[in-house]
């Protein structure tokens, strides 16, 4: 029995089952943690055969007005990331005083993200994204402080307005091709493309329209940040990749936006002095890497999701959020070692998955892109030198760090995934790409040590104000319209 024969019941059952599990957990509070872990493991098992299938399995429910699902290896990478990140978050919070409601929302978010990675028509994508948005809102607002409420409201408001634009684009596509399938984008009018791309770009935290992201990801609780930055943000990145694969014009737009995002995010990340905000801005830049090479995007998203959620979990255990303060003190050696491994992976040091992902991406880049992406890669090395050059304490003297078993289990899972993840692309290990990776790292560390360490530029946060976020959305839609019109 091959996978494709059981794909339909497995896929539909998997999506529905995970969402149902989210509600069952409420009724069975004692089993909340094991059930959440079970859900994550189930989608991890589902992702494996997807990674091995060469041909995408397209499922059309009802007829051509119905729901289209696509199970392919691109989506498989995202589902695997989702499974590992969710499992790590559950392990991390195993001994924490989290309520059952937290796990219920975590499972619903997990299930809706899986749905978003499988949907292949515009309306199903809309529904999956909105459900994941609501679940993310509830997770962010869960502490119910004024601050978390405001951050969550701001997130839901921005993403809902963006999705309204997306809906307008969707109906324009329908009017043109009498179907909601993604293939309709090929012949769609430019205004439809502009609206759909606007919705996905804002929701995915890309370029200027994604400036809502840093505050949201940096101010949430540690496990929620890890979940949001590790996987939730990629829910609208995969539909963008699928759009890019539909037509050449869209691919060009997505690639341009990807390069712009990578440079934009990394500039902020280099200059940022706050650990969690730096990680959040760096997420923006990594989304750019995923978009810049649509076919290789899946593997990059996997390696980034693992490393970023590990970094967010560890940043939550650092004695302070500010880099200048951290540089003054010594941090626990046992925290520094995994922090260094994660930083090295994301900067692209072999033999970690970050290196293989960067090599695979750079193979798929167009010539004009690679120059700019190399600059962005150096920027990544500079940003993460901030973590690497923290001083580890020689003995177990730092008393501020009290990890529990759950923390170590989560970190071991994520970092282990980074090493195993190499297996997806062993051909990356050529002399040329290893030398290139080492040069990038060396250049990044040199620039950090000589310039950035002493730099005291504080970037204004004005553009992150609520009104400006919405205004930027208007400007982005105009820019996208002209891009779509002129190509």
């Amino acid at each position: 029995m091959t996978f494709s024969t059981v794909a339909e019941p497995l896929t539909i059952g998997g999506i529905a089952g995970l969402l149902m599990l989210g509600f069952v957990v409420i009724l069975w509070p004692k089993l909340d943690r094991p059930l959440a872990l079970l859900g994550a493991i189930a989608s991890g098992l589902y992702a494996w055969p997807l990674l091995l299938t060469s041909e995408p399995i397209a499922l059309t429910l009802l007829d051509r007005f119905g729901v289209n699902l696509v199970a392919d290896s691109l989506g498989g990478y995202f589902i695997l990331t989702n499974a590992i990140v969710t499992a790590a978050v559950v392990l991390y919070t195993w001994q924490a005083p989290k309520t059952t409601f937290f796990y219920s929302q975590l499972l619903i978010l997990h299930g809706s993200l899986n749905a978003a990675f499988l949907c292949a028509d515009l309306v199903s994508i809309y529904i999956a994204l909105e459900v994941s948005g609501i679940a993310a809102f509830l997770l962010i607002a869960h502490p119910r402080t004024d601050r978390s409420l405001w951050v969550a409201l701001r997130y839901l408001f921005t993403s809902n307005v963006a999705m309204l634009f997306y809906l307008v684009g969707t109906v324009l596509v329908y009017q043109n091709s009498q179907s909601f399938a993604l293939a309709g984008l090929k012949t769609a009018p430019p205004e439809a493309l502009a609206f759909i791309l606007l919705g996905l770009l804002v929701k995915g935290g890309v370029f200027v329209s994604g400036l809502w992201l840093p505050l949201t990801h940096a101010e949430s609780e540690t496990p929620v940040s890890a979940m949001l930055s590790g996987i939730a943000i990629k829910a609208s990145i995969l539909p963008l990749l699928r759009c890019a694969l539909v037509s050449d014009d869209l691919e060009l737009i997505v690639r341009i936006v990807g390069v712009a995002t990578a440079l934009f995010g990394v500039t902020y990340a280099v200059l940022e002095k706050d650990t969690k905000r730096m990680l959040a801005f760096h997420t923006v830049s990594q989304l750019g890497f995923v978009l810049a090479a649509p076919i290789a995007g899946g593997f990059y998203a996997l390696s980034h999701g693992l490393v970023k959620s590990a970094l967010f979990l560890m940043a939550g255990s650092l004695p302070d959020r500010r880099f200048p303060v951290l540089q003054e003190q010594r941090i626990d050696r046992w925290l520094w070692i995994p922090l260094a491994i994660a930083s090295l992976s994301i900067s692209g040091l072999p033999p970690l998955a970050g290196f293989a992902a960067k090599a695979l991406t750079s193979k798929d880049l167009w010539p004009w892109q690679s120059v700019l992406m190399n600059v962005a890669a150096v920027g990544t090395a500079i940003s993460f030198a901030k973590f690497l050059f923290l001083k580890p304490a020689p003995g177990p003297q730092a008393a501020t760090f009290t990890p529990n078993g759950g923390f170590w289990a989560a970190i071991a899972l994520l970092l282990g995934g980074l090493v195993v993840g190499n297996g997806f692309y062993l051909e990356a290990y050529t002399a040329e790409s290893i030398v290139k990776a080492l040069l990038t790292l060396g250049a990044g560390w040199l620039i950090y040590w000589t310039i950035v360490r002493r730099l005291a530029v504080k970037l204004s946060q004005v553009a992150e104000e609520f009104d400006h976020l919405l205004g930027a959305m208007g400007l982005t839609s105009i820019a996208l319209f002209w891009m779509a019109l002129s190509w």
């Binding site: 004024d146 307005v161 809906l167």
Partner: protein, 123 residues
């Protein structure tokens, strides 16, 4: 003509979300915008005809409306309504400490509020 009106509603709603200071007004503007979007779906469904698309035993030779956009927008209405409800509940909670609900004021208080003391009250 109708299309122009609908786009005017969407645009006015969007401008309202930007230019209204009060959080409640922003949420209401968003609702205006989503009303516009829903109306646009209904308009496109009615392009082919106005007759309700219910097939009787003997089909009649009239212009039926397109059922697909209507079916789709029904889901979007439900989603929009639930998001609206969630946001209003969140706003209610926020109103306790920020009675004016002006977004600038809320943002300012978030910046001045230090990280550690932000967990001041739980309800």
């Amino acid at each position: 003509m109708l299309e122009a009106f609908i786009f005017a509603v969407i645009l006015l709603g969007f401008l309202g979300t930007i230019f209204k200071q009060n959080l409640i007004m922003k949420i209401v503007s968003m609702d205006v915008m989503s009303t516009g979007v829903i109306a646009y779906y209904v308009l496109i469904a009615a392009r082919s005809g106005f007759f309700t698309p219910i097939l009787p035993e003997t089909a009649r030779a009239v212009d039926y409306a397109d059922p697909v956009p209507q079916a789709v927008i029904l889901t979007a209405i439900v989603i929009g309504f639930s998001i609206q409800a969630l946001m209003l509940v969140g706003t209610m909670k926020l109103a306790r400490d920020n009675p004016t609900l002006e977004t600038h004021e809320i943002e300012k208080s978030m910046v001045s509020q230090p990280q550690s003391t932000s967990k001041s009250h739980r309800s």
